[in-house]
Subunit: 620 residues, 2 copies
């Protein structure tokens, strides 16, 4: 990995910073966040501006360029990678270390008096703008919105914004028409006396219209905005995409069933003037909903007196609670996914002793097996395929220069998932193809106990996910072990593999209470630096639970695993498991055998079936 | 209980609201919060203004009086009591019910345009002022500070502010001199570049100066403020209290050891002008620390540019971590407290069958036994002594009209504690003097399992208490049961029985991480409305724990029970307990027998000793 040479690029960028064509006066610093205009977790190549300017291509990082300096902030996952990818024009700011200044403090320390700090208001969230602006103002500087992106101005070979073909999803996949989703949204707006709603998150727009795209790797979304009023629906998208007759028909563009369900379409870029027009016509009591994580640019179009920022939009909440059709689809997707993984593990077992399997080839093989399954679309995130010490790097992704060979001597961790038209998967298994050490088994068993404690937990309706996080850790804690990540995230249905507003984490972010129909991951782990990593992840469905006393009719919930892939018994120290935990493992394996075994048989994948049957023998 | 007649009082108050002697123009509404100028949880009679104006004497409630209306907001604990104590001049606003408007919304709905809403800025916290003011302003009204309290203006027989004798505590009780506490405080101020610190919480001031008072029932505090600078200590207190030679000597008022440890004393009321004087002399970079829960009046004396509000003061944090001397004192206090409770239970067992023991007489007897112990000062809160259905009322306190007789047929719950010079106690036991029902035993056992799960939990250094809350509920949850209160609160050392900044609760308030030396309660419960209540409460000390792998030297913590009172075996369904839980119970009872048995023997209280020995037989 050699660093990107950035001297000339920085010279051009600094020229642009001084060029009054872009801002009425020269700016002394320019901030380059890593997001896109929709605050997406994964971004398209055309939006990788921070990578373009500094060379660092990790998922999180902010670059700031002044006349004299260039600095890039990222977190502990990426210290090594960033230091290798950036040349010495750049200072690496290691977030989380005591001596590292915040972006604000650093700016204040290096800027001349009364400086202007520029940022593209489309790629900074409204709440981030507010904090940065406050800090700079208190030190006599100001944060200014530069409408043209200055990176784009110097990026001559910038890729086009993707505009992939749209895919329509019928009721057999979505369970509810987009028209009905609009109606439900409007009833929520009426309830809260809201007259307009601005949607900016790509997965919310895809979900609302029952459409999917492929504009961003791993995320079946498309670039769009939408503005919904009580009698108006405005969709902003590359209009060429709407020439497809299937899409036109799906959206009833040519013959709307009712006037209030008629969609007006506009070019993607028109969202700004159209929102201005909407706001210009607002009555004195009109209120507009927008997520507080939406871009500063769009948020500030809405006059403050009309603006009602919300931490989660009604679409985000509605999308999180899957309906019966979506649940059925997610179950099907997970059965197919389990078939592919059973095949993978049976194949690995046979091939590894030959010494030719690497992290990368194993990941490729997993994708190959998955791609043979019906309705396969692609992966849902880059596969984490890691052997031995690489397994201890939580966000590891095998690269040619780090690629290790799988052997019978090291623990293997694979965290992978796929997009199928009927659902999204995300599963982690940790296995040993030889004889695990006593310590590896001990750690694995604590992680398993934590996984079971969450999966089998019964809790009252209205409980927030963060209250379950410690259940996943109790066994590890007792031994003096822990893991430095949350326990679970929301999972979309043929949508983003990470979604809000629910999750299971020690971080007390404002998560919404768990509800029947929500789908989250349950993935405790343990990481022994330089040695091995363990993680056990199932995707689980929140389901009503029958408890003895039922909380005086408040009702209770528990989880049903959707992931049905055997958990390696060889890695367990069964002496550390209680009777209840063993019963859980046996019941889980019985279900894997019944459901996935049936499918393997139907598909005639007999080697994998043999493997499954052997791996699901009851433990005692 | 007959309601207070308030017609004439309200007439006088409304007259005062129109009287420009108090505010430059008439005010249309007046808010009466329930606190005092120090945001104390318990308040002195002279500060019971909300009770005076409306008759309701519960611990939480806010009254608002307009020209036409009078309304009082309180929560579910007090709906019945408030409705009985208030006459029909008042509307009871039941907080937590959907149809109940917030104070802001109600004011906006009833006020004429452009109204002034008055409040005494001394008894509203700065953050509450901010929220209320914002809501009113957005509706065209304004919140105004009325310096003279209007309730006091119409309260002709208002009690005097108490000014009890001050008690000095030597190093054998405090472990650290007030001079050293000042030095530590100043080093924290230097670290954060703070030049002044304003203390307003009474327990913090008592702790800082190693002084105690008796101004407020159950809380050994005294009315005071203090302002600490790098070379200055200003104490605001009724100066008559400082005439005692012991106090003068303790505070070195006549011969300070060093100039920077010389205390300047001022009358209690002078805090306002003195803080003004301090602020007038601030340099441009000077910063003043004040708790964000301090009164609006004092907070607003500090110009915004100098004001650094903090959720917890450094005194609050320092006070929470007990030193070796304080821990030793707390242990001694709990042993004495256990002696008293063993006596109580032995006595109740003998007396109850005679049919003469009531909730009130049992509580009185508990106080009598406690008062025989060395260094007893008083109770630490009103005893909750409750039989059968009264036990299900979480904040029950026996009154003549509710007083039930203890029998062999109902569950008895007693939650009580005392102030000793060496420490503060708070313990709850739930017992049956006859034969408990299967359901009562089942519920008791789940509560016990929760109590043990918290008490025996091992967790890494830096863990916040709220992450442990679900451990207390898991066994109840599994059966479809829950309790609607937190699991634990911080406990002072011969100070307030409730203190911050740590605790164990599902509410994710900004609690500080648990540290070795902190002392909290562990008190899960279960309440069956109309039938019985169960709570099991120990005060526990946070101690370092030896875990197998010690979190890579991050270190781990667990709890050591300070409370040593047997947990009634008769109430347990031992079949529901695991081996580990039974071991915990047996080890706990062994310790009760060893430590408290020794003390009972030393004090010659042989009947109680016999009871203790019988009640601490190992379970199998």
């Amino acid at each position: 990995m050699s660093p990107k040479i950035t001297g000339e690029l920085l010279r051009l960028l600094r020229q642009a910073m001084r060029n009054c064509k872009y801002f009425s006066e020269p700016i002394q610093a320019y901030i380059v966040p890593s997001g896109d205009a929709h605050q997406s977790e994964y971004i398209a190549p055309c939006d990788c501006r921070r990578e373009f300017i500094c060379g660092f291509n990790g998922s999180a990082g902010t670059a700031i360029i002044t006349e004299q300096h260039a600095a890039m902030w990222t977190d502990g996952r990426y210290f090594l990678q960033a230091s290798q990818q950036m040349d010495n024009n750049w200072t690496l700011m290691k977030m989380g270390l005591k001596e590292t200044p915040s972006q604000e403090d650093w700016l204040i320390s290096v800027l001349p008096e009364n400086s202007k700090v520029g940022v593209d208001p489309w790629i900074i969230a409204a709440d981030q703008w507010k904090n940065m602006s406050k800090a700079l103002t208190s030190a006599g500087h100001s944060l200014v919105a530069v409408q043209d992106n200055l990176i784009d101005a110097v990026w001559t070979d910038r890729p086009e914004r993707p505009s992939t073909q749209l895919r329509t999803l019928g009721l057999d996949y979505t369970g509810i028409s987009w028209q009905d989703k609009i109606t439900v949204l409007r009833s929520k707006m009426t309830e809260r006396k809201i007259t307009w709603f601005v949607a900016t998150a790509l997965d919310e727009i895809a979900w609302l219209f029952n459409l999917r795209g492929a504009d961003i790797n791993y995320n079946p979304v498309f670039f769009a905005y939408t503005i919904v009023g009580m009698n108006s629906i405005r969709l902003f998208v590359d209009l060429q995409r709407l020439s497809d007759p299937g899409v036109r028909d799906h959206l009833q563009l040519d013959s709307p069933s009712k006037p209030e369900l008629s969609i007006q379409t506009f070019p993607y870029e028109s969202v700004y003037p159209e929102l201005q027009a909407v706001c210009a016509a607002l009555g004195p009591k009109d209120k507009v909903w927008i997520c507080d994580k939406a871009s500063c640019a769009l948020t500030r179009v809405i006059p403050k007196v009309h603006r009602t920022p919300i931490p989660y939009t009604p679409l985000c909440l509605a999308k999180a609670v899957k309906n019966a059709t979506e649940i059925q689809g997610m179950k099907m997707a997970h059965i197919k996914d389990a078939v592919a993984l059973c095949e993978l593990f049976a194949w690995l077992e046979k091939e590894i002793p030959k010494g030719n399997i690497t992290e990368i080839s194993a990941a490729d093989k997993a994708e190959e097996f998955r791609s043979q399954q019906k309705h396969f679309v692609g992966l849902s995130f880059p596969t984490i395929s890691s052997v031995g010490p690489n397994g201890a790097i939580i966000h590891y992704r095998p690269l040619p220069e780090t690629n290790r060979t799988l052997t019978v001597n090291e623990v293997y961790l694979i965290d992978s998932g796929a997009q199928y038209i009927d659902g999204t998967t995300d599963v982690t298994r940790t296995v040993h193809f030889g004889t695990p050490s006593v310590f590896e088994k001990e750690c694995f068993t604590y992680v398993l106990k934590g996984h079971i404690a969450v999966s089998a937990a019964v809790f009252p309706n209205g409980t927030k996910g963060h209250l379950l996080d410690s259940f996943a850790r109790a066994a590890l804690w007792e031994a003096g072990l822990d893991y430095l990540h949350g326990t679970g995230h929301g999972v979309g249905c043929f949508l983003n593999v990470h979604e809000g507003p629910c999750g299971i984490s020690y971080k007390t972010f404002a998560d919404e209470p768990l509800e029947a129909g929500m789908i989250v991951s349950d993935e405790p782990g343990y990481y022994e630096d330089g040695s091995f990593g363990i993680r056990l992840e199932n995707v689980v469905l929140v389901v009503p639970s029958k408890s003895k006393y039922n909380y005086r009719n408040r009702g209770s919930l528990t989880f049903e695993p959707l992931t049905l892939v055997p958990i390696q018994v060889k890695m367990m120290n069964t002496e550390l498991l209680t009777k209840k935990e063993k019963d859980w493992v046996n019941e889980y394996h019985r279900k894997c055998r019944e459901v996935v075994g049936g499918e393997l048989e139907r598909q005639g994948r007999m080697e994998a079936l043999d493997w499954l049957i052997r791996e699901t023998q009851p433990i005692i």
